[in-house]
Amino acid sequence: MEVIAILIPLALLLGLFFIGAFIWVTHKGQYDDLETPKLRMLLDEKPKRGKVHEQE
């Protein structure tokens, strides 16, 4: 049971880290638009023709 003395503070630190991260991204505007990004990622970006030629 003594291991709890390490595990609990560790768990707390981990939890606090994620709460901090959550607060940070919320202020950054990550959650301002919840509908469009999930749809936008479904659309394939066609490579621009010029660039394809360069790679070849």
Binding site: I4, A11, G15, T26, G29, D32, E35, T36, R40, L42
Partner: protein, 786 residues
């Protein structure tokens, strides 16, 4: 029944265009959708249709109405100053609200805008609010971007920048999310330690675990639960009751109890149940607010009832004109009005004759003839002729402006209804307080005072009406979401509740019960013609801008007419059209079609009843609701329409002015008004519930509680049924959650309650109402299924 290739609307008679290879064989609901289809194909955006079919449709959209606007006012310097801003890279930023955003492919297409409109550097679409934010070159033309959007079938409305309000709203939303996040983190951590305590942790472990739960509970009960305290305090100060009062009481009691436990060395508290409750409540309210904001967005827009530029005279002889946005017109200016223009001001005709459609302002279905010296009013539309008009009243001073103002005042004066939950929570609180006091007296007489106090606080905690507070917003969210998915935008949850109590329904006539524009109702063939008669009609009438011509074209297209070459076309204003086709002289006038002097056919045109009007009237009357007509039009027209729709003539009111309509609505209770024009706007506000049908004037949209996105009236009957069923679910949830509360009270009185028992009962009750909400009712499930 066919489905439009572009807008996915079901149509009885589809429009086909086989002349073009790209569109051959595809059905369309209207010319607008067909045109947009061709535009997309010719620009190499045919992929739109693949993405649409693969991505699925998020919401229904209305068939496309092309505006053919030139949007020149967007390039005015005064407009740019007020509506746009420059960023640090010297790029111009502007937002437009777009009509018709409905699927994944829309997103794809809109964000491709820079490819069609070179001045646009970036286009970013917010699907949820249908708002596109454009970044343009500083000297780029906004009109070019707007025309491109319009041609793609999304009618743009410029949005005024209100930086401060936007910023405030955004901050509020982020704060709300933070509250939910903190509550989630707190509740889940507390659960970990609470379970250890229930599982038998002892001694110093129990003390540490208990201390940790208190530490985690503090931010949840202060920061996250703040909105509950605020609402409770506000409602108490206004001597009202809200469900937040008993919730706040329970939370505060729980907090006191927990801290007391730490001090006294009692290693048990109610934080696990309470924090989970805060999280769930915040979440359910967030969902409700989110879905209401979607409907509200349309109200916040600075939609202009005349969203196009007008020609203002700049010289004394009225020969030179400049394009200007109506907002910047002043009294004394002279403007030119052409066919299809919306009149932006109140004024007097100086030169020329006009035929004006007054339907939006007065409800009259027949176009009115106006000549020199006659007054014209803002909100009406020119259907024929050209004239110079002197501005007598502009913007807010026009009759329309005054109606708009009274609508906005009406909103602020509209008394909020006392909701079912509010009424219940008042009784609830008194009962709980009474029980708590009697428990305290009983226990203090029996034994120790501290035990009595402890039990009393416990009672206040476990009787928290959490299930009720949780289920109500979720039920409404579900109802609003269901409505939105079927093209009904509902302003808020109170509308649903009011709608379920409606006893009387009044329909406006022109544009609501009827289609609002003339259409061919019958065509009698009298003689055989050389060429197919429908081809003749289409070929001649497509050159005319008269509303009757539009009706005839639609009729001909529905009969799969083709266009033929016309020579010597002439249009005699106010009489008819004539032209030579294939060596034969054809003419159309006085409701008849001639070949030379031979009558080929006679037709009749009128503003016909909407297809589903009679069905909606019948289904509403079946439910015991009184249905009536209230119209600004002449009695004979109103009676005709009422008869066709199956409405008793005793409840038909005709030649009613907008102000009288308003008074009639104020005088009646539990009344629903359905309308479309500016003349209905005041009545829509003062009725208990106002519904604006698809194609309504912007001003009625602002006035209405409900807006139908799909043409037709049938959604009204379904929405009414939905509201009744929603209230039924809410009452059922009420009974369920109150019975759980009764069980907890009995447990407290018999001394059986412990935090563990509470941790079982409280989530269980929430779960029960949740299932009840999602399960719905049989009738609710059958809605929109047939």
């Amino acid at each position: 029944m066919e489905i439009c290739t572009h807008c996915d609307e079901q149509v009885e008679v589809a429009v086909f265009d086989d002349s073009d290879e790209a569109s051959a064989g595809y059905p369309f609901c209207c010319q607008g959708c067909l045109t947009v289809y061709k535009v997309l194909q010719s620009n190499g955006f045919g992929e739109y249709y693949q993405i649409k079919s693969a991505g699925g449709i998020l919401r229904k959209r209305a068939p496309i109405q092309l505006s053919r606007s030139h949007f020149t006012y967007l390039d005015d310097s005064s407009f740019l100053l007020e509506y746009t801003e420059l960023n640090s890279n010297n790029q111009r930023l502007i937002s437009f609200y777009l009509e018709g955003i409905h699927c994944l492919a829309c997103l794809w297409l809109i964000e491709k805008l820079p490819e069609i409109a070179p001045d646009v550097l970036e286009a970013k679409l917010d699907m949820e609010n249908s708002i596109v934010s454009l970044t343009l070159k500083a000297e780029g033309k906004l009109s070019q971007a707007a025309i491109a959007l319009d041609r793609l079938g999304y009618r743009p409305h410029p949005l005024k920048k209100n930086q401060k309000a936007e910023e405030l709203k955004k901050r509020e939303e982020r704060l709300q999310l933070l509250r939910i996040g903190v509550a989630a983190a707190g509740a889940s951590n507390i659960m970990l330690y609470a379970v250890s305590i229930y599982g038998g942790a002892e001694g110093s472990y129990a003390a540490i675990f208990n201390l940790l739960t208190v530490l985690f509970a503090i931010p949840v009960l202060t920061f996250s639960a703040w909105p509950f305290y605020r609402t409770a305090w506000l409602s108490l100060r206004n001597k009202e009751m809200s469900i937040d009062v008993p919730i706040s009481l329970a939370l505060l009691c729980g907090g006191v109890m927990g801290v007391y436990g730490v001090v006294m060395g009692i290693h048990e508290n109610y934080f696990d149940s309470l924090t989970a409750l805060v999280f769930l409540l915040l979440l359910s309210r967030y969902f409700l607010k989110h879905i209401q904001d979607k409907g509200l967005a349309a109200q916040d827009l600075h939609f202009f009832y005349h969203n196009d530029s007008v020609q203002k005279s700049v010289d004394g002889a009225h020969e030179c004109f400049t394009s200007i946005h109506p907002q910047f017109l002043e009294v004394g200016d002279v403007i030119q009005l052409n066919v299809e223009d919306f009149v932006p001001i109140d004024g007097v005709i100086l030169r020329g004759d006009l035929r004006i459609n007054m339907a939006l302002l007065s409800g009259e279905s027949e176009a009115k003839k106006c000549s020199v010296g006659d007054a014209v009013f803002a909100g009406t539309q020119v259907v024929q002729g050209t004239a110079l008009v002197r501005v007598d009243k502009a913007a807010q001073d026009t009759r329309l402006g005054k109606i708009l103002k009274s609508v906005e005042d009406g909103w602020s004066q509209k008394a909020p209804i006392v909701k079912v939950t509010q009424k219940i929570s008042s009784y609830f609180l008194w009962t709980v307080c009474l029980l708590a006091v009697s428990l305290f007296i009983k226990l203090s007489l029996e034994g120790s005072l501290s035990h009595a106090l402890e039990q009393m606080i416990t009672l206040l905690i476990v009787t928290c009406p959490c299930a009720l507070a949780l289920a109500t917003p979720l039920t409404f969210t579900r109802a609003l979401g269901l409505a939105a998915r079927h093209g009904i935008v509902v302003r808020n949850d109170a509308v649903i509740e009011k709608l379920s109590q409606v006893e009387k329904v009044y329909f406006d006539k022109t544009g609501t019960l009827t289609v609002g524009r003339p259409s061919v109702v019958s065509c009698e063939m009298l003689n055989k013609s050389w060429l197919p008669i429908h081809d003749v009609i289409l070929s001649l009438e497509k050159n005319s801008k008269h509303p009757m011509a539009h009706a005839l074209c639609e009729y001909a297209i529905a009969h799969k007419a083709k266009t033929l070459d016309v020579e010597d076309f002439e249009e005699i204003s106010g009489r008819g059209v004539a032209g030579t086709i294939d060596g034969h002289r054809y003419s159309i006038h006085s409701y008849q079609i001639y070949e030379g002097s031979k009558v080929l056919a006679s037709f009749s045109v009128c503003d016909s009843l909407r297809e589903d009007a009679a069905r909606v009237v019948a289904s509403l009357s079946e439910r015991g609701i009184q249905v009536g007509v209230i119209s600004g039009d002449k009695a004979s027209f109103a009676h005709d329409v009422a008869e066709q729709a199956g409405i008793p003539l005793t409840s038909v009111f005709s030649e009613v002015s907008p102000e009288e309509k308003n008074r009639m609505m104020q005088a009646s209770q539990h009344v629903l008004m359905v309308g479309d024009g500016a003349n209905d706007a005041m009545a829509l506000t003062s009725a208990d519930v106002g519904i604006a049908v698809c194609g309504s004037a912007d001003i009625s949209l602002r006035a209405a509680d409900v807006y139908l996105l799909n043409p037709g009236l049938s959604s009204i009957s379904e929405l009414h049924m939905l509201s009744i069923e929603t209230m039924r679910i809410i009452r059922r949830n009420l009974v369920l959650s109150l019975s759980y509360n009764a069980i907890s009270v009995m447990a407290v009185f018999s001394g059986l309650i412990t935090p563990l028992v509470a941790a079982i009962i409280m989530p269980l009750s929430s779960l029960t109402v949740l299932v009840s909400t999602l399960w719905g009712t049989k009738k609710q499930r059958s809605l929109w299924k047939s």
